[in-house]
């Protein structure tokens, strides 16, 4: 309203029918405290009751705002604003209502027109679909007006419950938010359940695939074990026959024949070694490899291996040097497995050391925290590139740089060596420099802990 200053006292939400009583009660108290006479109090209360009833009836929810209105210096009054977001009123009907000719279905159709008569100022803003906003003012007689100044705070105390009201409103709003959030959560939960189902499905498929793979792996190991075993039997026979020839018991051989028999012997031997490798690897894989521990004289063992490798070294023109101290402690180990480790390391060294090179095999007490024995096999061979070192001890992990040099072998030797050393509770290590040679070393503990 033009030229009128209003100071808000408080607001009441209209949501329930009982709120009409609450509005009446507060309007009456505010009107009384402002200094309206009792007749005017009743008029104002009744008028606002009409407005509130309209809100509840046509818009269901809305609000009643009370304020102190001031026009100029001396004119003070009670201003009430009723607003809702209901259907609004079209112009023709508004006209009829204000003229008093409209008859509503529920009330007596006197609400708005009557309110205008009961109040001093009346202003209505409404359009169909845009809600309704009605502002009314009742002016105080000049005598009472003078006492109103500065009493707004006191009047506001009537709205002590206003806090409750807005708290309720707040709770309602929070509840709505909560419901929305819960809805979202429910959706997410459903989504998650769906994903879980999919995951379970994929898991099941994976498990099946896994089981199938494991089965295949087992079958492969089994096949490997069986075939290598079957391969070894005829080779043993062949090897035996060859040794007959080379022993000269079947008559003296010509030089050419001797050479050929020697060639057969060498190749048969390497074939047997290859098959042994495969057999061992397969045993390690399937976990059926068992250690048979006994007291092992490392010195004698290394000597023995050196001796058996002697002819091969001699043939390649490689010198094998031994460095064996006298005070090696006795080891508790599987004699055959330990021999195999040393053979593998030594044959590996011979294999990759060029003619005229040197291989050194040594042993000694290890310098680590735990008492142990360290065996070292060093060569002056081609060496290993740093990139290959890591996978050297892996299955079939023969360094590429070596494989390309046309050397034979399954690439299982070092893998088996490492597995066997680790079964004994030891560690194996390699240091190498390309072009200068490699040093393989393994350490076995001498205490009881080398039982696996």
């Amino acid at each position: 309203m033009q030229g009128i200053k209003s100071t808000r006292i408080g607001e009441i939400y209209v949501r329930r029918e009982a709120d009409i009583v609450s509005v009446r009660d507060r309007v009456r108290r505010v009107a009384r405290d402002l200094g309206f006479d009792s007749t005017t109090q009743i008029k104002v209360t009744t008028a606002i009751s009409e407005l509130t009833r309209n809100i509840y009836e046509y818009a269901q929810t809305g609000a009643i705002t009370l304020a102190v209105a001031e026009r100029g210096a001396a004119t003070v009054g009670l201003q009430v604003m009723a607003r809702d977001d209901g259907p609004g009123i079209d112009e023709a009907r508004l006209h009829a209502i204000m003229r008093g000719s409209y008859r509503s279905g529920s009330g007596m159709g006197v609400g708005l027109a009557g309110t205008r008569r009961l109040m001093d100022e009346f202003e209505i803003e409404t359009k169909p679909g845009e809600g309704t906003r009605i502002t009314v003012i009742k002016w105080l007689p000049p005598v009472a007006a003078a006492t109103v100044q500065g009493r707004v705070a006191e009047l506001r105390s009537h709205f002590g419950e206003d806090a409750d009201d807005s708290a309720v409103e707040e709770i309602v709003r929070q509840n709505r938010d909560l419901v929305a959030v819960l809805g979202e959560l429910e959706e997410k939960r459903n989504e998650m359940e769906r994903l879980n189902r999919q995951l379970n499905e994929s898991n099941r498929e994976l498990n099946e695939a896994n089981a199938k793979l494991r089965e295949l792996a087992e079958m492969r190991e089994e096949f490997l074990a069986l075939t290598t075993h079957d391969l070894r039997s005829p080779l043993t026979v062949i090897s035996g026959v060859i040794s007959f020839f080379s022993s000269g018991r079947l008559g003296e051989l010509s030089t050419e024949q001797k050479n050929m028999v020697a060639m057969m012997e060498r190749n048969t031997q390497s074939l047997i070694e290859l098959i042994n490798d495969l057999l061992d690897a397969s045993k390690i894989e399937s976990g059926t490899m068992r250690l048979e521990l006994s007291a092992v004289d490392l010195r004698a063992l290394i000597r023995d291996v050196h001796e058996s490798m002697g002819p091969l070294a001699h043939e390649k023109g490689i010198a094998i040097e031994e460095r064996l101290p006298d005070d090696l402690p006795p080891l508790s180990a599987d004699h055959e497995k330990l021999r195999r480790v040393i053979v593998n390391l030594l044959s590996n060294a011979l294999k990759f050391t060029p003619k005229g090179g040197r291989v050194e095999v040594g042993a000694g007490r290890s310098s680590g925290d735990t008492p142990g024995v360290r065996v070292v096999v060093a060569d002056t061979g081609v060496g290993i590139a740093p990139g290959d070192l890591a996978r050297l001890f892996n299955k079939y992990g023969q360094a590429r740089s070596r494989a390309t040099r046309g050397e034979t072998g399954t690439g299982l030797g070092l893998y088996i060596a490492r597995q066997l050393v680790e079964m004994h509770g030891g560690t194996i290590d390699v240091q190498s420099e390309v072009g200068k040679g490699s040093t393989f070393s393994f350490t076995l503990p001498v205490t009881d802990s080398n039982q696996n």
Binding site: E17, V21, I42, S49, E50, S106, M108, G114, R117
Partner: protein, 144 residues
């Protein structure tokens, strides 16, 4: 909440309904039902509604008062509204509300007299058997 207990008293063949507090709409509607069922139960011939304590009579309450009067008449009873405050009367007129079909008198005495004259009830028939018939129980009013 106020308005939850409104007694309906029977004095002679008259139901007296003193409204002491401001009522919400549900209470008003409930009161209407109670009055009609008491009329049926007791065969009372008159309803005297005392609104001397009521400060707000808006269009809804006014309409219900009219309705009560109309319904009571159909049930062969007269309705008198007594004790209306002058300010309420002024307000009703300014509001443009007529309490159609409702007789109004100044106070309870006048009201009883009017009803007695109307039905020719003798003095001996009433006054002594003043008893409360029913109370408006808060529990009966569903306020949520």
């Amino acid at each position: 909440m106020n308005g939850s207990r409104i007694p309906i008293l029977k004095v002679g063949r008259v139901l007296i309904v003193p409204i002491q507090v401001d009522m919400d709409d549900q209470t008003v509607m409930h009161l209407q039902e109670r009055i009609l069922s008491e009329l049926e139960r007791t065969g009372a011939r008159g309803v005297l509604i005392d609104i001397s304590m009521l400060e707000t009579v808006d269009s809804f309450i006014g309409r219900v008062l009219s309705d009560i009067a109309a319904m009571a008449r159909i049930m062969d009873a007269r309705t008198v509204v007594v004790g209306m405050q002058p300010a309420v009367a002024i307000t009703l007129v300014e509001l443009g509300l007529e309490l159609r079909g409702v007789d109004t008198v100044l106070n309870v005495d006048e009201g009883i007299k009017l009803l007695r004259d109307e039905f020719g009830i003798r003095d001996a028939d009433d006054g002594l058997e003043h008893r409360e018939l029913s109370m408006f129980d808060g529990e009966q009013v569903n306020r949520t």
